[in-house]
Symmetry: C2
Subunit: 226 residues, 2 copies
């Protein structure tokens, strides 16, 4: 039998991912982990501590690898700026690798990340964001260097769009893919698909669309026969 501490972490990870954090009680967790109810408070100081430990365990190596990849690409680029696709690769590859290496457990974990991300009111949310502070600034800086003509506000927006696409995929990928009847290599496909989409989105030309024209079109056809 494995350590009680890791049994608790595993059980919490699975239950948090499947039923949500608020909906999972300590009793659910300790029962699933075949541990005593008080074990959570003994080992982690409470539910919040357990939750923090759950995503500390997996997030720390993922983010370390992200920075290492970015470092590698930057030193490979030398004085040049890092190509967009490499920046996105450095951001996406580590969590995808986690998905493969940890299997079912990794997928569950990524769903927790997406959950916490969408719930800014969680008490854990501050600690959660702190994991991404360095990541954010480093990747924003790299993007800014590669997209010097785009003003930093827009760079940041598009970076967030790309993150959102990734998180959404982690949260919904399973459902989407079961609808589409995928072959076994679907993870590689999705990975490539995400990078292609984000690269194109990040370097989208500005002022390429005319919103006012569509507003005119909209008014023109208002009340047309349904």
């Amino acid at each position: 039998m494995t350590d009680t501490k890791t049994r608790l972490l595993d059980a919490a990870e699975a239950l948090f991912a499947d039923h949500g954090i608020a909906a999972t009680s300590l009793r659910d967790i300790t029962t699933s982990a075949k541990a005593n109810l008080a074990a959570v408070n003994y080992h982690f100081g409470g539910k919040d501590g357990l939750l923090e430990a759950v995503f500390d365990r997996r997030l720390r190596p993922v983010n370390r690898e992200r920075l290492a990849l970015l470092d590698a690409f930057e030193s490979a680029a030398g004085a040049e700026c890092v190509p967009l696709e490499q920046i996105l690769y450095a951001n996406l590859a580590p969590p995808f690798r986690t998905l493969e290496e940890w299997g079912e457990s990794g997928q569950r974990f990524m769903r927790i990340v997406a959950r916490i991300n969408a719930d800014p009111s969680s008490r854990i949310h501050e600690a959660f964001l702190r994991h991404f502070d360095v990541i954010r600034t480093r990747f924003l800086a790299a993007l800014g260097r590669t997209l010097p003509d785009l003003d930093p506000t827009e760079v940041e927006r598009r970076f967030h769009y790309s993150l959102a696409a990734m998180l959404h995929t982690f949260c919904w990928g399973a459902q989407i893919d079961c609808l589409c009847a995928h072959p076994s290599d679907h993870r590689e496909r999705v990975f490539t698909s995400l990078i292609e989409y984000a690269v194109a989105g990040l370097q989208a030309p500005r002022h390429s669309i005319d919103v006012d024209e569509m507003r005119r079109l909209e008014v023109e056809f208002e009340g047309a026969p349904v």
Copy 2:
């Protein structure tokens, strides 16, 4: 004093958005709405009924407008396919208009939508998805017509990416923008930014990136001096 029913809806909307659904008790809601605790069960049959009513009230007109816009653009296009930017405009403009018309309340509501979307385990989630059934199929069909060379699986993925960027913006837009010190017209800018990004992402060329090459580069610089 307004109707008790709408007072409850308003209070629930605000509290659900600010503190989360699970973290908001009926007592919080009825206190904020200056109504009796039992009023929720009387008018809505319970907490779930209240939540469903909360997003029914705003989601129904938004989605109706989405379909109306798509209809208008399709009849304007005649036999041609609808331009990508128009499809995205039809999808994005209604919720953005809601954001303006309902003010603070609209922003809160959109945050609830993002929340529910990220929480597939919610009891309400099925009912929530049903709101988007027609939207999804109609917009996927339009996208497929405009992007005939892209296989439907990829169209669906990219559509989801675009939705994710939009939802993420609704959930985090306030925080992101307060970081960037925006002028008053920032909503229009974000709206345009989202469409530009998504249009570019949706028509990204396939096989435009070489993942294997980056893997080689990664291995080459593995363990380089940190």
